[in-house]
Point group: C2
Chain length 229, copies 2
Amino acid sequence: MSGRDLKDLLYEQVARIARAAASPKRLELIEILVQGEKSVEQLAADAEISVKLASAHLKELRLARLVEARREGRRMFYRLVDRHVADFWVMLRTLAEERLLELQAATREIAEGGGDLAPMAGEQLLERARRGEVIVLDVRPGMEYANAHLPYARSIPVSELRDRLGELPADRPVVAYCRGPYCLMASEAVAILARSGFQASRLEDGVAEWRYQGLPLATAAHDSEECTE
Amino acid sequence: MSGRDLKDLLYEQVARIARAAASPKRLELIEILVQGEKSVEQLAADAEISVKLASAHLKELRLARLVEARREGRRMFYRLVDRHVADFWVMLRTLAEERLLELQAATREIAEGGGDLAPMAGEQLLERARRGEVIVLDVRPGMEYANAHLPYARSIPVSELRDRLGELPADRPVVAYCRGPYCLMASEAVAILARSGFQASRLEDGVAEWRYQGLPLATAAHDSEECTE
DNA sequence: CGTATATTCCAACGAATATTGGAATATGTG
DNA sequence: CACATATTCCAATATTCGTTGGAATATACG
């Protein structure tokens, strides 16, 4: 094989991966899958697209070996192949944010709903949560919390938040997080909490960003009680 | 703006970056630009495409803010916006290699030309080069060496290697490197060296991979003499 | 100012992609 | 086995992208 042909082949393979990521819907599916395994139906619902379209996109992602599928009964469950895919998503998003001004404007629009608390860096938030000075609240669906969550975080899905406000101590600031900076659940939660008199703010990071920074995660509920009260 | 519209906008912006990287030719241009600033003509020649096509691809890359252009006389020089773009390229390639089997097979074909020396890890190679136990040889064009090169490396472009073999001590192993794993110059150099009785092997990494690993680089020729002889 | 050089813009065509509707497959249930 | 459910496959359409040829732009030189 000639040098040129070989090179073409090599770059083509790498481009194939990039092409798999070059679709908004597929990126959204990837971000959802970062939260854990999901069925096609769930993925379609979360990404607000038809099941058929979700299936087609998942096929592309599977072809690029970014996700893999498992059959359970009549359902097909998809998951990311490994954490490098999640890291890639975080890096790509970070790169995009550094470069595109419109993106920064839109991200600001999401953040605006949050409180005034200065954004705390990872290590610092972790320490304050450990000491119980701040309540870290995971507002994603329960399944995703069970799959992986920030240390010391407790789970109240945003859909149940209104009815479960009583579980939260009113004398401490609450930091809500969800799937990541593009997810709106934490913003909604902050709005609900603020309306009820809580000192609430939003953490932009999700588990993917947290892990990307090398910070620890919890995978069960065994540590979420340590900071309860 | 509704939540869905906002999300669509956000993912679309990220996808735009991925789309810019989703073309073999553009990836090749990026890798060439990692070696330093180049004119459109040089880029087209290195990537073996027409100037017009190179210009079109560079326009895409510029639109995505991955590269920026500078005019000097009647030439246009392009460069990567910052090192995050180079890091992105390395990460994308690494991800692709982990995933795609064909790619691994092709990469092996490139490496096959190399010697039998066990591949040395970065730190170790650096130390051996510092002590002069091994000759690190940069076989890229002189301009690229001047822009940035591995510490203790000396420059002999592959095109001049045949005529300058006398400059190399024959009693020490030579490790040649070039632009990165997909570049063929180092393989060619190893073949030439081996034919002349040198104990030659190839380093797959280029400056991008080296920097990605957090290892130091040299930017002038001030340190390439330390290990000369 | 005319000419040569380097690069970009514009137009056009074929190839690839996203999306949707309808049919097909595979699994579980009565 | 008939039937419901979850998902995938296939076909068709609109759109986008890669590539090339020809014209246009910007700069340098005589």
